[in-house]
Symmetry: C2
Subunit: 242 residues, 2 copies
């Protein structure tokens, strides 16, 4: 496993993202952007990028807040995220910086790049797609589905998959219905999987640290199921594009 820290500017911030490459092959491989939960680029997103690299993808675990900062206070983080939610252009700029950086890598086949993300990172993947980003798939795990610019769904070029806990208090039925309507109007190739009995942050083994199990709780079964769904969509997408 080769790792490298890649620095680039985005939305006025100096980003420090982590690149993972599983082997030294000279063949261009599919690339995956991995956007972290709202706290910033911590072990969770990095470990997912490493897992992807171990099975043949070139994965960039992307910085969110600049300088690689990871916050630990939920209220403070929500205060930092709110302006990004109001202005999708800023979210897209942060995500797009990662995309440009990954596309520039010689290990990556630029026709085969996807973006995945967790929580607000899922929103980043979706906003990158809404902004017309050249990605073949955008996948969100317990990702916020709302956007200030639903009309931009018409710009989405790739496939969309969102994996949502049916009991996630932060992504309620009304938000899911609005997303459906947005995707329908944009004529997107989209899928949504709902998991019964599951709340927010189901992929994150450290979700319990919040101490709010009715809001955020790890669920090993759903973590495995949704990871498999992602891999299947990668297989479908990259087999077609290659």
């Amino acid at each position: 496993m080769q790792t490298e820290i890649l620095s680039y500017e985005a939305d006025g911030l100096q980003m420090r993202s982590h690149l993972y490459v599983g082997d030294s092959s000279s063949v261009r491989r599919p690339g995956v952007l991995v956007f972290p939960e709202a706290f910033g680029l911590g072990d969770h997103a990095k470990s997912r990028a490493e897992r992807l690299a171990a099975i043949g993808y070139v994965a960039l675990a992307c910085d969110l807040h600049g300088e690689g900062i990871v916050h630990d206070d939920l209220e403070a983080v929500m205060g930092l995220i709110a302006p990004l939610q109001k202005d999708p252009a800023r979210t897209r700029a942060r995500a797009g910086g990662g995309l440009e950086t990954l596309l520039a890598r010689p290990e990556v086949d630029p026709a085969r790049v996807a973006a995945i993300g967790y929580c607000f990172g899922g929103t980043m993947a979706l906003e990158l797609a809404r902004g017309g980003g050249e990605i073949a798939a955008a996948i969100g795990f317990h990702s916020g589905l709302a956007t200030a610019a639903p009309e931009d769904a018409k710009n989405i070029r790739g496939k969309v998959l969102v994996c949502i806990g049916a009991d996630d208090p932060g992504i309620d039925a009304a938000q899911r219905v609005a997303f459906e309507e947005e995707m329908r109007a944009g004529k997107v190739d989209w899928q949504m999987t709902l998991y019964g009995g599951v709340v927010h942050s189901f992929t994150n083994p450290d979700a319990g640290r919040l101490g709010r199990p009715d809001f955020a709780r790890y669920d090993a079964r759903t973590d495995a199921r949704s990871w498999d769904e992602m891999l299947r969509l990668f297989d479908e997408t990259f087999a077609t594009a290659s």
Copy 2:
């Protein structure tokens, strides 16, 4: 491929179902009940059972109307189905006859049996589960989700997966929400996947025969995606149970 017609009585009808066994192994294998669309046991459900047998399952494509009758008029069929929808006990009896028959086969491991179904056949799989049927998984493709006995979800022993076209006029958002509430109240391990731009009968290459493409339309991509979802749940379920 070995095939055999199995006859049994259920709900006062003489059923003629088709068993498919892919090899002559003496090891007990997972069994799958395959319930057909409302028209009755035609080529579609039989071909799915055969595909399952080819990859190692023992599959019983189940008769629905008795004597192996297949109808071709949608209005007439809806008239036959309506009393079953009103009285889940009758639906469960028809499905249960197939289950008893499959469980009695020496090729089948009775601890590893699932039920799948299409359209009303999906409803049959779900009703079999609601009736407390000994099945490890119930999977419905473009399956009716409504039931006259939602309180029976508490009897469901296995996992539930439903694969639904987001634009299916027969399975609207209100029906999906009611199903969610039913599954939640019953504390079921359930998943629902929605496919954007997809209507009813997306697994059936002959769906176009109805001449109502806004209602029923084959979709090869969604057919493949949902089949894969089923196989993944089988892998998860039968690996655990074995």
